[in-house]
């Protein structure tokens, strides 16, 4: 299997580790009440290039590798890792992880069987596709376009990031799996100034492909113009209203709504422990009819996609909510087992030095029937938000927020004036029951999402069509 060969040569060959060695090291993590163990080998190279004040003044390169070992017994996990991928370090980490369970006695390793995953992206290294000068040209082009677009643009910051990751997973049930993951991202941020007032605008995108895609798609110009447009709109933004009102959300990145309102609350670990506001609610109505939300790790080239998750399970399209009814949670292997179900391919970790837990991939709502213009026209008085920063949630109380970065007041079906970004707050199990209209314009975000949970960041995607929500609290200053 080609991917496994790449992974072996990158991760195991340099220190001469064979499959038998891994078998031996993993066996050291088994025994007694340990019912499963795994090893996660990882090597990543990353680079970033940035332009600021019109010049490419900074760039950096990072290389890291290591192996993490987990030993699991029921809901308990022993975890150790090493940046040294060598037999002695593997054995030491296995023994350290093994100490989670006190009882002795050996468990057997199963024979190796290779698990293949999807082919959602190519294994090629995205960092080497363009020369340094071509990378800098991309940055400089975005800078030039942004500055030329409007004389009020005073600052332009452009960044280009890329990474190439090789992972190999070995499990005590004999599964051997590997993945080679490219990831790139291009971002333009600007500050506009008028009469002493300064406002920002930002646009970016990326995914699991390589930098040449940015050239082919004219991203430098597109992102620069969009960032400028946002900043200029914000120069005229008035104070945002405060209070409960009807809102319309644009398609794409505003899908952060779903990520915060229900995404985290539907992660398997919280529901297994009973700490989520959605615990024990499978089969209940949690959203309006017509609302279907999925977590789909199988979309080609997306930032949030994976061929296999970080436990070697091929990713899936998991239906979370169907026609408003809660259907299922996102699981990794341990939480799936403890919940009498299976992993949904959502076991992820930030690196070999972090533990695995259920995480999202690409979380989005399916398209509905309405024309987006019709949705806007239906609003007598409300708030229309098309761009957001990020959000956060308390999965126990269910309260979540997301912060608008470009928004408008709507009166009698028409946009009247722009307002400053305000934070919107709602209740997860409640907000989707207030979805009044669902647009037919499903869009996924451009590839800029990073999700944080318990100190670990992973790349994710979000999406939705235009939505009308009949009542959410807008955190402005105009009471």
């Amino acid at each position: 299997m080609e991917i496994l060969d790449i992974a072996r040569s990158q991760l195991l060959s340099p220190t001469g580790l064979s499959d038998e060695d891994i078998n031996k090291a993993l066996s050291a993590a088994l025994g007694g009440s340990i019912d499963a163990a795994d090893m996660y080998f990882q090597s990543v190279t990353r680079e970033s290039w940035s332009l600021d004040d019109g010049i490419v003044k900074d760039a950096s390169f990072n290389l890291q590798h290591g192996v993490g070992v987990r030993a699991m017994s029921g809901d308990k996990t022993g975890f150790a890792y090493s940046d040294d991928i060598a037999m002695s370090a593997l054995l030491e980490s296995s023994q350290a992880a093994r100490s989670i369970a006190k009882s002795s006695g050996a468990n057997d390793m199963q024979a190796w069987k290779v698990q293949s995953g999807h082919s959602l992206y190519t294994p090629d290294n995205p960092l080497s596709v363009l020369s340094e000068n071509q990378k800098m040209d991309l940055l400089r082009q975005a800078d030039a376009t942004a500055r030329a677009a409007d004389p009020r643009i005073k600052q332009v910051m452009v960044s280009l990031l890329g990474s190439h990751e090789v992972v190999l997973i070995a499990r005590s049930d004999g599964t051997l799996a590997a993945d080679v993951r490219p990831l790139v991202r291009f971002n333009v941020s600007v500050i506009a100034e008028q009469n002493g007032r300064r406002e920002q605008g930002s646009m970016g995108g990326g995914g699991r492909y390589n930098y040449s895609e940015f050239i082919a798609s004219d991203s430098a110009d597109e992102f620069a113009r969009e960032a400028v447009r946002q900043a200029i709109v914000n120069l005229d933004a008035k104070e945002a209203p405060a209070g409960n009102m009807v809102i319309v959300l644009g398609p794409g990145w505003p899908g952060v709504l779903l990520h915060e309102a229900i995404g985290h609350g539907l992660e398997g670990d919280f529901n297994r422990k009973g700490t989520s506001a959605f615990s024990g609610r499978i089969g209940e109505r949690v959203a309006s009819p017509g609302v279907t939300v999925v977590d789909d790790g199988t979309i080609a080239n997306r930032r949030g996609s994976l061929n296999i998750d970080d436990e070697g399970t091929p990713t899936k399209c998991t239906t979370l909510i169907e026609d408003g009814i809660l259907k299922g949670y996102m699981q990794d292997r341990m939480n799936g087992k403890l919940s009498n179900t299976k992993s949904t391919g959502n076991g992820r970790r930030e690196s070999y030095a972090h533990q695995t837990m259920p995480r999202m991939t690409n979380t989005y709502m399916l398209a509905g029937q309405h024309d987006p213009e019709e949705i806007l026209a239906s609003v007598d008085k409300g708030f229309y938000a098309v761009n957001f920063g990020g959000g956060q949630v308390d999965i126990t109380s269910g309260k979540f927020v997301f912060s608008a970065s470009e928004a408008y007041m709507v009166e009698k079906g028409k946009i009247t004036y722009p307002v400053k970004g305000a934070t919107l707050i709602g209740d997860g199990p409640d907000v989707l029951t207030r979805v009044g209209m669902i647009g037919n314009d499903l869009k996924l975000d451009a590839g800029v999402g990073t999700c944080g949970k318990e100190g670990q960041s992973v790349p994710v995607g979000v999406g939705q069509p235009t939505l009308r929500i009949d009542g959410i609290t807008v955190g402005g200053t105009q009471a």
Partner: protein, 447 residues
């Protein structure tokens, strides 16, 4: 990529490794170089519902190098601590510096600022317990937190102990190293009633385990904070005074520092642009930076560029005395570094003799904020809008818990309208302050 001929370097010989890297870089054409290595070693254990849940062993190493070819800069980093890996990182950084533009403000900090005689700050206090004993403590902590029938579930209690070593060297011939420990006990539990579930937490953190709060006390506080949130309700939109609990008050001071940090200022991306010498806070407020407090959480003998750290007043009698700068941003602004490459170090501020209770009484009617969520803080404009939970205060007393609200305002106004700072200083961090009372902000609610 390591190979079986490379041996990784023990923590003791990092100084010679880094100084060898500086020499290597010079031979390969670097005009200036700085290199840093860090290592976090320790463990964290979590118990949940009376049993062990996780035992994690930590050993995280990293090395970062920045080189300059003239005024062109390149950086590289790796987690592999070996002579070969660091030399490869130097090569990568030098390759990058062939392409990046000459920047007249680029370069390492000036040699006369180097902390050649840096002080020992007593930051390392090993905690002589094994993971088994740590687990026992976690179990006892959680037990205390669950000692109430209204506590229906638990996220668990954790005990962790980490030793960090930092080594830095540059081409001025400066080499510095220091080690520090951080120990903590934390606990999070969940209360429930007919109106739903609420969770809260508490933790204790210190460099010396002797100074940690008693584990039963940590559990008890987590329990009380959680239970008091039950039957939380929504609110009507209004404009009232807001009292920020100490951990949240700390975040307000953090926003102030973001707005006076060099990287925001030279990009003119701050609502406090050109504020040096201006009154930005009430005249009774002074904010000090004390980098050399022995054993304190934020203490450092030198900053991330090897620059000598020293005490100063960042704000004095409400007037901004200086910014938060490293050498690059300082040069962009025509100023000198304030030894803040990497951030601020031990912040203390003026406070009154008033307890939180007294502040609540004086406030009369308003909101006591105990939780903030979301990132709605705009450093460019000062616009502030965050999700919140807390307690409605009327007649000088807490009436009931509230939730699903936002609080909004503009930081420039908020800072000027701080009417009191409590004596309930939260010492569990780099920035230490008490409750902060702000005259007026807008609360948006669902009712």
């Amino acid at each position: 990529m390591s190979n079986n001929l490379e041996k990784t370097i023990s923590d003791d010989s990092l100084q010679s490794l880094l100084s060898q890297a500086v020499d290597y870089a010079k031979t390969k054409g670097a005009d200036a170089i700085e290199v840093a290595a860090s290592n976090d070693k320790g463990y964290s254990v979590t118990a949940r519902l009376g049993e062990v849940e996780t035992v994690e062993h930590h050993n995280q190493r990293s090395m970062a190098v920045t080189v300059y070819r003239g005024q062109a800069k390149g950086s590289a980093s790796t987690n592999i601590v070996s002579p070969e890996a660091i030399n490869r990182a130097v090569d990568s950084a030098l390759d990058i510096a062939k392409f990046t533009a000459e920047d007249e403000c680029a370069g390492i900090a000036e040699s006369d600022l180097m902390a050649f005689d840096y002080p020992e700050l007593n930051l390392e206090h090993p905690w002589e317990i094994e993971t088994d004993q740590a687990l026992e403590k976690a179990i006892i902590c959680e037990q205390a937190a669950r000692d109430d029938t209204r506590i229906v579930n638990s996220e668990g209690a954790s005990v962790s102990s980490i030793t960090t070593q930092l080594t830095y060297a540059n081409s001025h011939g400066f080499i510095g190293e220091y080690r520090g420990t951080r120990h903590s006990v934390s606990c999070s539990v969940i209360a429930g009633d007919d109106n739903g579930m609420q969770r809260d937490y508490w933790y204790t953190l210190d460099r010396n385990a002797k100074n940690l709060q008693n584990v039963e006390e940590v559990g008890a506080i987590a329990r009380e904070r959680t239970v008091r949130r039950l039957s939380s309700q929504g609110m009507k939109t209004c404009s009232v005074p807001i009292l920020f609990e100490p951990p949240l008050a700390r975040s307000l001071i953090g926003h102030l520092f973001s707005a006076i940090s060099g990287s925001a200022l030279y990009r003119q991306a701050s609502f406090l642009l050109d504020s040096k010498g201006k009154k930005i806070l009430p005249e009774w407020i002074t904010i000090k930076e004390l980098p050399h407090m022995l054993g304190a959480l934020g203490s450092v003998p030198f900053d991330n560029e090897g620059v000598r750290t020293q005490e100063r007043n960042i704000v004095e009698n409400g007037v901004l005395q200086g910014y938060i700068l490293g050498s690059y941003s300082a040069r962009k602004l025509g100023m000198q570094t304030t030894a803040n490459a990497g951030g601020v170090h031990n912040i203390q501020m003026t406070h009154s003799d008033l307890t939180q209770q007294e502040l609540i009484k004086n406030m009369g009617k308003g909101l006591l904020v105990t939780e903030l969520i979301g990132h709605g803080v705009n450093t460019v404009t000062g616009d502030y809008s965050r999700g919140a939970a807390g307690f409605w205060v009327e007649n000088g007393e807490i009436q009931h818990p509230v939730h699903e609200i936002t609080i909004a305002g503009n930081l420039a106004d908020m800072f000027q309208s701080i009417s009191a700072v409590g004596n309930d200083t939260d010492t569990r961090g780099n920035v230490q302050c008490g409750s902060i009372l702000i005259d007026n902000m807008t609360i948006a609610g669902s009712s």
